[in-house]
Protein backbone atom coordinates (compact mmCIF):
# COMPACT_ATOMS: atom_id res chain seq x y z
CA UNK A 1 0.00 0.00 0.00
CA UNK A 2 1.33 3.39 -1.00
CA UNK A 3 0.49 6.77 0.38
CA UNK A 4 -2.50 8.17 -1.49
CA UNK A 5 -2.26 11.98 -1.56
CA UNK A 6 -5.58 12.33 -3.38
CA UNK A 7 -7.40 10.65 -0.51
CA UNK A 8 -5.92 13.14 1.97
CA UNK A 9 -7.77 15.87 0.08
CA UNK A 10 -10.92 13.79 -0.11
CA UNK A 11 -10.82 12.99 3.62
CA UNK A 12 -10.08 16.64 4.39
CA UNK A 13 -13.29 17.74 2.67
CA UNK A 14 -15.31 15.04 4.45
CA UNK A 15 -13.84 16.00 7.82
CA UNK A 16 -14.87 19.63 7.40
CA UNK A 17 -18.43 18.63 8.29
CA UNK A 18 -17.25 17.52 11.76
CA UNK A 19 -15.60 20.85 12.62
CA UNK A 20 -18.80 22.40 14.08
CA UNK A 21 -19.12 19.54 16.59
CA UNK A 22 -15.50 19.90 17.66
CA UNK A 23 -15.86 23.66 18.01
CA UNK A 24 -19.15 23.27 19.89
CA UNK A 25 -17.52 20.96 22.43
CA UNK A 26 -14.55 23.31 22.74
CA UNK A 27 -16.53 26.49 23.22
CA UNK A 28 -19.22 25.03 25.47
CA UNK A 29 -16.57 23.58 27.75
CA UNK A 30 -14.47 26.76 27.70
CA UNK A 31 -17.54 28.95 28.31
CA UNK A 32 -18.96 26.91 31.19
CA UNK A 33 -15.43 26.28 32.45
CA UNK A 34 -14.73 29.99 32.55
CA UNK A 35 -17.84 30.64 34.65
CA UNK A 36 -16.92 27.78 36.97
CA UNK A 37 -13.32 29.03 37.04
CA UNK A 38 -14.31 32.58 37.96
CA UNK A 39 -16.54 31.35 40.79
CA UNK A 40 -13.92 28.99 42.20
CA UNK A 41 -11.10 31.50 41.76
CA UNK A 42 -13.04 34.25 43.53
CA UNK A 43 -13.94 31.82 46.31
CA UNK A 44 -10.26 31.14 46.82
CA UNK A 45 -9.07 34.74 46.54
CA UNK A 46 -11.81 36.11 48.84
CA UNK A 47 -11.32 33.16 51.22
CA UNK A 48 -15.02 32.32 51.38
CA UNK A 49 -15.18 29.82 54.27
CA UNK A 50 -16.59 26.51 52.96
CA UNK A 51 -16.59 27.33 49.27
CA UNK A 52 -12.86 27.92 49.36
CA UNK A 53 -12.03 24.41 50.58
CA UNK A 54 -14.40 22.85 48.07
CA UNK A 55 -12.87 24.90 45.25
CA UNK A 56 -9.34 23.95 46.22
CA UNK A 57 -10.21 20.26 46.43
CA UNK A 58 -11.99 20.43 43.07
CA UNK A 59 -9.10 22.16 41.34
CA UNK A 60 -6.50 19.83 42.85
CA UNK A 61 -8.42 16.68 42.00
CA UNK A 62 -9.25 17.65 38.42
CA UNK A 63 -5.73 18.82 37.70
CA UNK A 64 -4.31 15.62 39.14
CA UNK A 65 -6.35 13.24 37.03
CA UNK A 66 -6.54 12.75 33.24
CA UNK A 67 -9.33 14.40 31.29
CA UNK A 68 -10.39 10.98 30.03
CA UNK A 69 -11.24 9.79 33.54
CA UNK A 70 -13.48 12.85 34.02
CA UNK A 71 -15.40 11.90 30.91
CA UNK A 72 -15.65 8.25 31.93
CA UNK A 73 -16.79 9.07 35.45
CA UNK A 74 -19.42 11.53 34.21
CA UNK A 75 -20.53 9.14 31.48
CA UNK A 76 -21.09 6.27 33.89
CA UNK A 77 -21.84 8.15 37.10
CA UNK A 78 -24.23 10.87 35.95
CA UNK A 79 -26.85 8.41 34.58
CA UNK A 80 -26.94 6.65 37.96
CA UNK A 81 -27.52 10.00 39.67
CA UNK A 82 -30.12 11.14 37.12
CA UNK A 83 -32.08 7.89 37.33
CA UNK A 84 -32.00 7.87 41.11
CA UNK A 85 -33.18 11.48 41.17
CA UNK A 86 -36.03 10.98 38.71
CA UNK A 87 -37.06 7.80 40.57
CA UNK A 88 -37.27 9.63 43.87
CA UNK A 89 -39.24 12.44 42.23
CA UNK A 90 -41.51 9.98 40.49
CA UNK A 91 -40.61 11.25 37.04
CA UNK A 92 -40.53 9.08 33.96
CA UNK A 93 -37.35 10.77 32.71
CA UNK A 94 -34.52 8.29 32.12
CA UNK A 95 -30.83 9.01 31.60
CA UNK A 96 -30.97 7.31 28.17
CA UNK A 97 -32.89 10.31 26.91
CA UNK A 98 -29.87 12.53 27.49
CA UNK A 99 -27.83 12.80 24.28
CA UNK A 100 -24.27 11.49 24.63
CA UNK A 101 -22.79 14.85 23.71
CA UNK A 102 -24.43 16.23 26.87
CA UNK A 103 -22.12 14.08 28.99
CA UNK A 104 -19.15 15.31 27.00
CA UNK A 105 -20.23 18.91 27.64
CA UNK A 106 -20.58 18.31 31.38
CA UNK A 107 -17.33 16.39 31.74
CA UNK A 108 -15.21 18.78 29.71
CA UNK A 109 -16.75 21.82 31.43
CA UNK A 110 -15.66 20.33 34.74
CA UNK A 111 -12.17 19.75 33.34
CA UNK A 112 -11.93 23.24 31.88
CA UNK A 113 -13.30 24.80 35.08
CA UNK A 114 -10.33 23.65 37.15
CA UNK A 115 -7.75 24.90 34.65
CA UNK A 116 -9.66 28.16 34.15
CA UNK A 117 -9.76 28.65 37.90
CA UNK A 118 -5.95 28.78 37.93
CA UNK A 119 -5.91 31.06 34.88
CA UNK A 120 -8.38 33.49 36.47
CA UNK A 121 -6.61 33.40 39.81
CA UNK A 122 -3.17 34.14 38.42
CA UNK A 123 -4.67 36.89 36.26
CA UNK A 124 -6.33 38.59 39.20
CA UNK A 125 -3.24 38.30 41.38
CA UNK A 126 -1.12 39.88 38.66
CA UNK A 127 -2.94 43.19 39.01
CA UNK A 128 -1.02 45.63 41.16
CA UNK A 129 -2.64 46.53 44.44
CA UNK A 130 -2.07 50.23 43.87
CA UNK A 131 -4.60 50.04 41.07
CA UNK A 132 -7.49 49.16 43.34
CA UNK A 133 -6.29 51.69 45.92
CA UNK A 134 -6.28 54.39 43.25
CA UNK A 135 -9.80 53.36 42.26
CA UNK A 136 -10.98 53.73 45.83
CA UNK A 137 -9.16 57.05 46.05
CA UNK A 138 -11.24 58.46 43.19
CA UNK A 139 -14.36 57.21 44.93
CA UNK A 140 -15.23 53.99 43.13
CA UNK A 141 -17.14 51.26 44.90
CA UNK A 142 -15.56 47.80 45.16
CA UNK A 143 -17.69 46.47 42.31
CA UNK A 144 -16.80 49.46 40.10
CA UNK A 145 -13.13 49.06 40.91
CA UNK A 146 -13.24 45.36 40.07
CA UNK A 147 -15.21 45.79 36.87
CA UNK A 148 -13.53 48.88 35.47
CA UNK A 149 -9.98 48.60 36.81
CA UNK A 150 -9.11 45.07 37.90
CA UNK A 151 -10.89 42.84 35.38
CA UNK A 152 -9.57 44.52 32.19
CA UNK A 153 -6.00 44.30 33.47
CA UNK A 154 -6.47 40.77 34.77
CA UNK A 155 -7.83 39.76 31.38
CA UNK A 156 -4.75 41.13 29.65
CA UNK A 157 -2.49 39.28 32.08
CA UNK A 158 -4.43 36.03 31.76
CA UNK A 159 -4.80 36.05 27.99
CA UNK A 160 -1.79 33.86 27.10
CA UNK A 161 -2.84 31.23 29.65
CA UNK A 162 -6.42 31.50 28.48
CA UNK A 163 -5.38 30.85 24.91
CA UNK A 164 -3.35 27.81 25.98
CA UNK A 165 -6.34 26.45 27.84
CA UNK A 166 -8.60 26.94 24.83
CA UNK A 167 -6.09 25.08 22.66
CA UNK A 168 -5.90 22.37 25.33
CA UNK A 169 -9.66 21.98 25.29
CA UNK A 170 -9.70 21.94 21.48
CA UNK A 171 -7.22 19.09 21.54
CA UNK A 172 -9.05 17.42 24.42
CA UNK A 173 -12.30 17.41 22.47
CA UNK A 174 -10.89 14.44 20.51
CA UNK A 175 -11.67 12.34 23.60
CA UNK A 176 -15.37 12.80 22.94
CA UNK A 177 -15.15 9.81 20.58
CA UNK A 178 -15.32 7.57 23.69
CA UNK A 179 -18.81 8.99 24.22
CA UNK A 180 -19.59 8.12 20.57
CA UNK A 181 -19.75 11.79 19.59
CA UNK A 182 -18.74 12.23 15.96
CA UNK A 183 -16.17 15.02 16.10
CA UNK A 184 -13.12 15.29 13.85
CA UNK A 185 -11.26 12.34 15.35
CA UNK A 186 -14.23 9.98 15.21
CA UNK A 187 -15.06 11.20 11.72
CA UNK A 188 -11.50 10.43 10.62
CA UNK A 189 -11.99 6.88 11.81
CA UNK A 190 -15.30 6.58 9.99
CA UNK A 191 -13.92 8.06 6.77
CA UNK A 192 -11.01 5.63 6.87
CA UNK A 193 -13.00 2.54 7.76
CA UNK A 194 -14.45 2.28 4.25
CA UNK A 195 -11.09 1.83 2.51
CA UNK A 196 -8.59 1.37 5.37
CA UNK A 197 -6.62 4.45 4.45
CA UNK A 198 -6.20 5.43 8.09
CA UNK A 199 -2.89 7.22 7.61
CA UNK A 200 -4.26 9.57 4.95
CA UNK A 201 -7.39 10.20 6.97
CA UNK A 202 -5.46 11.09 10.10
CA UNK A 203 -3.10 13.34 8.15
CA UNK A 204 -6.17 15.28 7.07
CA UNK A 205 -7.46 15.40 10.66
CA UNK A 206 -4.06 16.57 11.93
CA UNK A 207 -3.97 19.31 9.30
CA UNK A 208 -7.38 20.58 10.39
CA UNK A 209 -6.39 20.65 14.06
CA UNK A 210 -3.09 22.30 13.23
CA UNK A 211 -4.94 24.96 11.23
CA UNK A 212 -7.47 25.57 14.01
CA UNK A 213 -4.67 25.87 16.57
CA UNK A 214 -2.76 28.37 14.44
CA UNK A 215 -5.95 30.42 13.97
CA UNK A 216 -6.52 30.53 17.75
CA UNK A 217 -2.89 31.56 18.29
CA UNK A 218 -3.12 34.33 15.70
CA UNK A 219 -6.41 35.64 17.10
CA UNK A 220 -4.88 35.69 20.58
CA UNK A 221 -1.88 37.64 19.31
CA UNK A 222 -4.22 40.22 17.76
CA UNK A 223 -6.33 40.42 20.89
CA UNK A 224 -3.22 40.69 23.04
CA UNK A 225 -2.10 43.76 21.15
CA UNK A 226 -5.51 45.30 21.70
CA UNK A 227 -5.90 44.58 25.42
CA UNK A 228 -2.29 45.32 26.36
CA UNK A 229 -2.42 48.81 24.85
CA UNK A 230 -2.51 50.42 28.28
CA UNK A 231 0.67 48.63 29.23
CA UNK A 232 3.18 50.35 26.97
CA UNK A 233 5.66 52.96 27.98
CA UNK A 234 6.23 56.43 26.54
CA UNK A 235 4.01 59.46 26.48
CA UNK A 236 1.92 59.15 23.33
Amino acid sequence: MKLDPAFIGEAFVKLLSAIPTTLAITFVSVGCGLLLGIVTALARIYRVPVLREISSAYVTFIRGTPMLTHLLIVMFGLPIAIDALSDSLGLSFRSVQVPMIGFAYVAFSLTAGAYMSEVVRSGLLAVNRGQIEAAYAVGMTTWQALRRIVFPQAFAAALPNLSNSVIGMLHGSTLAFTASVVEINAKAQIVASTNWKFFESYIAAALIFWGLTVVIERLTALLEKRVARYDRGGVA
Binding site: I45, F61, P66, T69, N185, A205
Partner: protein, 260 residues
Protein backbone atom coordinates in the same frame (compact mmCIF):
# COMPACT_ATOMS: atom_id res chain seq x y z
CA UNK B 1 -25.75 -1.50 35.23
CA UNK B 2 -26.26 -1.53 38.95
CA UNK B 3 -28.60 1.22 39.99
CA UNK B 4 -26.70 2.07 43.13
CA UNK B 5 -23.04 2.54 43.89
CA UNK B 6 -21.17 -0.15 45.77
CA UNK B 7 -18.11 1.39 47.34
CA UNK B 8 -16.48 -1.97 48.07
CA UNK B 9 -15.94 -2.41 44.32
CA UNK B 10 -13.86 0.77 44.28
CA UNK B 11 -11.37 -0.74 46.72
CA UNK B 12 -11.47 -4.08 44.95
CA UNK B 13 -10.71 -2.50 41.58
CA UNK B 14 -8.13 -0.17 43.09
CA UNK B 15 -6.10 -3.20 44.19
CA UNK B 16 -6.64 -4.96 40.87
CA UNK B 17 -5.43 -1.89 38.98
CA UNK B 18 -2.14 -1.69 40.86
CA UNK B 19 -0.22 -4.16 38.61
CA UNK B 20 -1.04 -1.99 35.58
CA UNK B 21 0.93 0.91 37.06
CA UNK B 22 4.06 -0.78 35.72
CA UNK B 23 3.15 -0.37 32.07
CA UNK B 24 1.92 3.18 32.60
CA UNK B 25 5.19 4.16 34.22
CA UNK B 26 7.10 2.31 31.52
CA UNK B 27 5.47 4.54 28.91
CA UNK B 28 6.13 7.65 31.00
CA UNK B 29 9.80 6.91 31.70
CA UNK B 30 10.78 5.68 28.24
CA UNK B 31 8.92 8.39 26.38
CA UNK B 32 10.40 11.10 28.59
CA UNK B 33 13.94 9.74 28.19
CA UNK B 34 13.62 9.58 24.41
CA UNK B 35 11.65 12.81 24.42
CA UNK B 36 14.41 14.64 26.29
CA UNK B 37 16.96 13.51 23.72
CA UNK B 38 14.63 14.54 20.89
CA UNK B 39 13.88 17.84 22.60
CA UNK B 40 17.58 18.57 23.01
CA UNK B 41 18.27 17.79 19.34
CA UNK B 42 15.36 19.92 18.22
CA UNK B 43 16.23 22.84 20.48
CA UNK B 44 19.89 23.11 19.39
CA UNK B 45 19.30 24.39 15.82
CA UNK B 46 17.06 27.11 17.16
CA UNK B 47 19.46 28.07 19.93
CA UNK B 48 22.42 28.37 17.56
CA UNK B 49 20.32 29.63 14.63
CA UNK B 50 21.35 26.93 12.17
CA UNK B 51 19.82 28.09 8.85
CA UNK B 52 17.61 25.31 7.43
CA UNK B 53 17.41 23.08 10.50
CA UNK B 54 16.06 25.97 12.53
CA UNK B 55 13.06 26.19 10.26
CA UNK B 56 12.55 22.41 10.37
CA UNK B 57 12.51 22.25 14.15
CA UNK B 58 10.09 25.17 14.22
CA UNK B 59 7.68 23.21 12.03
CA UNK B 60 8.19 20.08 14.14
CA UNK B 61 7.40 21.88 17.38
CA UNK B 62 4.44 23.71 15.86
CA UNK B 63 2.97 20.48 14.51
CA UNK B 64 3.31 18.44 17.68
CA UNK B 65 2.03 21.26 19.84
CA UNK B 66 -0.72 22.14 17.37
CA UNK B 67 -2.38 18.75 16.99
CA UNK B 68 -4.07 16.58 19.62
CA UNK B 69 -2.04 13.74 21.08
CA UNK B 70 -4.76 11.26 20.17
CA UNK B 71 -4.41 12.18 16.49
CA UNK B 72 -0.62 11.85 16.78
CA UNK B 73 -1.01 8.38 18.31
CA UNK B 74 -3.12 7.17 15.40
CA UNK B 75 -0.93 8.97 12.89
CA UNK B 76 2.18 7.20 14.11
CA UNK B 77 0.47 3.87 14.62
CA UNK B 78 -0.85 3.81 11.06
CA UNK B 79 1.78 5.97 9.39
CA UNK B 80 5.13 4.84 10.74
CA UNK B 81 4.88 1.32 9.25
CA UNK B 82 4.01 2.88 5.87
CA UNK B 83 6.97 5.22 5.99
CA UNK B 84 9.32 2.47 7.10
CA UNK B 85 8.06 0.27 4.28
CA UNK B 86 9.46 2.82 1.86
CA UNK B 87 12.93 2.06 3.18
CA UNK B 88 12.11 -1.66 3.13
CA UNK B 89 11.88 -2.14 6.87
CA UNK B 90 9.11 -4.48 7.93
CA UNK B 91 7.67 -3.57 11.30
CA UNK B 92 4.43 -5.55 11.11
CA UNK B 93 5.58 -7.72 14.02
CA UNK B 94 6.68 -4.85 16.22
CA UNK B 95 4.63 -4.59 19.42
CA UNK B 96 2.12 -1.75 19.56
CA UNK B 97 3.81 -0.42 22.67
CA UNK B 98 6.79 0.68 20.56
CA UNK B 99 4.56 2.91 18.44
CA UNK B 100 2.84 4.28 21.51
CA UNK B 101 6.15 5.17 23.15
CA UNK B 102 7.38 6.72 19.89
CA UNK B 103 4.27 8.90 19.72
CA UNK B 104 4.59 10.03 23.33
CA UNK B 105 8.32 10.66 22.89
CA UNK B 106 7.78 12.83 19.82
CA UNK B 107 4.94 14.66 21.55
CA UNK B 108 6.84 15.44 24.73
CA UNK B 109 9.98 16.11 22.67
CA UNK B 110 8.28 19.15 21.17
CA UNK B 111 7.31 20.51 24.58
CA UNK B 112 10.70 19.68 26.13
CA UNK B 113 12.51 21.50 23.33
CA UNK B 114 10.50 24.63 24.10
CA UNK B 115 11.34 24.27 27.79
CA UNK B 116 15.05 23.89 27.01
CA UNK B 117 14.98 26.89 24.70
CA UNK B 118 13.40 29.07 27.34
CA UNK B 119 15.76 27.81 30.04
CA UNK B 120 18.93 28.36 28.01
CA UNK B 121 17.68 31.85 27.24
CA UNK B 122 17.39 32.43 30.99
CA UNK B 123 21.07 31.64 31.65
CA UNK B 124 23.10 34.81 31.91
CA UNK B 125 25.10 35.56 28.77
CA UNK B 126 28.11 36.42 30.95
CA UNK B 127 28.32 32.76 32.02
CA UNK B 128 29.15 31.62 28.49
CA UNK B 129 31.53 34.53 28.03
CA UNK B 130 33.31 33.63 31.25
CA UNK B 131 33.53 30.06 29.99
CA UNK B 132 35.15 31.24 26.75
CA UNK B 133 37.44 33.59 28.69
CA UNK B 134 39.05 30.74 30.58
CA UNK B 135 39.56 28.91 27.30
CA UNK B 136 36.62 26.53 27.04
CA UNK B 137 35.43 25.45 23.61
CA UNK B 138 31.84 26.10 22.58
CA UNK B 139 30.85 22.54 23.43
CA UNK B 140 32.58 22.63 26.82
CA UNK B 141 30.95 25.92 27.76
CA UNK B 142 27.55 24.58 26.75
CA UNK B 143 27.90 21.25 28.53
CA UNK B 144 29.65 22.36 31.72
CA UNK B 145 28.32 25.87 32.24
CA UNK B 146 25.06 26.47 30.42
CA UNK B 147 23.38 23.06 30.59
CA UNK B 148 23.55 22.46 34.36
CA UNK B 149 22.08 25.89 35.03
CA UNK B 150 19.50 25.59 32.28
CA UNK B 151 18.34 22.20 33.57
CA UNK B 152 17.78 23.68 37.01
CA UNK B 153 15.79 26.55 35.53
CA UNK B 154 13.77 24.19 33.32
CA UNK B 155 12.97 21.83 36.17
CA UNK B 156 9.57 23.27 37.20
CA UNK B 157 8.39 23.25 33.58
CA UNK B 158 9.79 19.76 33.11
CA UNK B 159 7.96 18.64 36.24
CA UNK B 160 4.69 19.85 34.79
CA UNK B 161 5.46 17.98 31.59
CA UNK B 162 6.07 14.76 33.52
CA UNK B 163 2.69 15.05 35.23
CA UNK B 164 1.02 15.94 31.93
CA UNK B 165 2.69 12.95 30.31
CA UNK B 166 1.45 10.66 33.07
CA UNK B 167 -2.10 11.87 32.53
CA UNK B 168 -1.75 11.61 28.76
CA UNK B 169 -0.82 7.92 28.98
CA UNK B 170 -4.53 7.32 29.60
CA UNK B 171 -4.97 7.71 25.83
CA UNK B 172 -2.85 4.65 25.07
CA UNK B 173 -5.88 2.44 25.68
CA UNK B 174 -7.20 3.57 22.28
CA UNK B 175 -4.48 1.47 20.64
CA UNK B 176 -5.24 -1.48 22.91
CA UNK B 177 -2.48 -1.02 25.48
CA UNK B 178 -3.42 -2.54 28.82
CA UNK B 179 -2.20 0.29 31.01
CA UNK B 180 -4.26 1.73 33.85
CA UNK B 181 -7.13 3.05 31.75
CA UNK B 182 -7.27 0.02 29.46
CA UNK B 183 -7.30 -2.23 32.49
CA UNK B 184 -10.01 -0.16 34.18
CA UNK B 185 -12.19 -0.57 31.11
CA UNK B 186 -11.87 -4.33 30.98
CA UNK B 187 -12.11 -5.14 34.72
CA UNK B 188 -15.86 -4.49 35.10
CA UNK B 189 -16.99 -6.51 32.06
CA UNK B 190 -18.46 -9.16 34.38
CA UNK B 191 -19.83 -7.00 37.17
CA UNK B 192 -20.78 -4.06 34.91
CA UNK B 193 -19.63 -1.76 37.72
CA UNK B 194 -17.93 0.70 35.38
CA UNK B 195 -18.48 3.75 37.53
CA UNK B 196 -16.72 2.20 40.52
CA UNK B 197 -13.85 1.09 38.33
CA UNK B 198 -13.33 4.55 36.88
CA UNK B 199 -13.54 6.08 40.32
CA UNK B 200 -10.71 3.79 41.44
CA UNK B 201 -8.83 4.72 38.27
CA UNK B 202 -9.12 8.46 38.95
CA UNK B 203 -8.02 7.92 42.53
CA UNK B 204 -4.96 6.01 41.40
CA UNK B 205 -3.97 8.66 38.85
CA UNK B 206 -4.40 11.31 41.49
CA UNK B 207 -2.14 9.49 43.93
CA UNK B 208 0.45 8.87 41.22
CA UNK B 209 0.60 12.50 40.16
CA UNK B 210 0.71 13.59 43.79
CA UNK B 211 3.69 11.36 44.56
CA UNK B 212 5.44 12.33 41.32
CA UNK B 213 5.00 15.99 42.12
CA UNK B 214 6.59 15.55 45.54
CA UNK B 215 9.53 13.66 44.03
CA UNK B 216 10.02 16.29 41.34
CA UNK B 217 9.98 19.05 43.91
CA UNK B 218 12.80 17.32 45.79
CA UNK B 219 14.80 16.91 42.60
CA UNK B 220 14.27 20.55 41.78
CA UNK B 221 15.65 21.62 45.14
CA UNK B 222 18.65 19.35 44.70
CA UNK B 223 19.41 20.80 41.28
CA UNK B 224 19.28 24.34 42.64
CA UNK B 225 21.85 23.48 45.32
CA UNK B 226 24.65 25.28 43.50
CA UNK B 227 22.83 28.56 43.90
CA UNK B 228 23.37 28.46 47.65
CA UNK B 229 26.92 27.08 47.56
CA UNK B 230 28.71 30.32 48.47
CA UNK B 231 26.53 31.09 51.43
CA UNK B 232 24.11 33.31 49.57
CA UNK B 233 20.42 32.69 49.41
CA UNK B 234 19.40 30.18 46.77
CA UNK B 235 17.68 31.42 43.66
CA UNK B 236 14.50 29.75 44.76
CA UNK B 237 14.58 31.55 48.08
CA UNK B 238 15.51 34.76 46.31
CA UNK B 239 12.69 34.26 43.87
CA UNK B 240 10.34 33.65 46.73
CA UNK B 241 11.42 36.79 48.50
CA UNK B 242 10.92 38.83 45.36
CA UNK B 243 7.54 37.18 44.90
CA UNK B 244 6.55 37.91 48.48
CA UNK B 245 7.64 41.50 48.07
CA UNK B 246 5.58 41.64 44.91
CA UNK B 247 2.66 39.99 46.58
CA UNK B 248 2.70 42.65 49.25
CA UNK B 249 2.15 45.23 46.55
CA UNK B 250 -0.42 43.14 44.79
CA UNK B 251 -4.12 42.87 45.04
CA UNK B 252 -5.28 41.43 48.31
CA UNK B 253 -9.02 41.61 48.20
CA UNK B 254 -9.55 40.53 51.77
CA UNK B 255 -7.42 43.34 53.08
CA UNK B 256 -8.90 45.77 50.61
CA UNK B 257 -12.15 45.51 52.45
CA UNK B 258 -13.76 44.00 49.37
CA UNK B 259 -14.61 41.09 51.61
CA UNK B 260 -16.90 41.99 54.49
Amino acid sequence: MGASIDISYVFDYFVKLLPAIGITLEIVVLSLLIGSAVGMLVALPRLYRVPVLQRLSQVYVSFFRGTPLLIQLFLIYYGLPELLKMVHADVSRTPVLVFVITAYALHSGAFISEAIRAAVGAVDRGQVEAGYAIGMTGYQAFRRIVLPQAIAVAMPVFGNLVIANLKDTSLAFSLGIMELTGKAQTLPTLSQRFFESYLALALLYFLLSFVLQKLLYRLERRLLRHEAADGRVSRRAKGRRVKDKDAAGRLNLTEEGALP
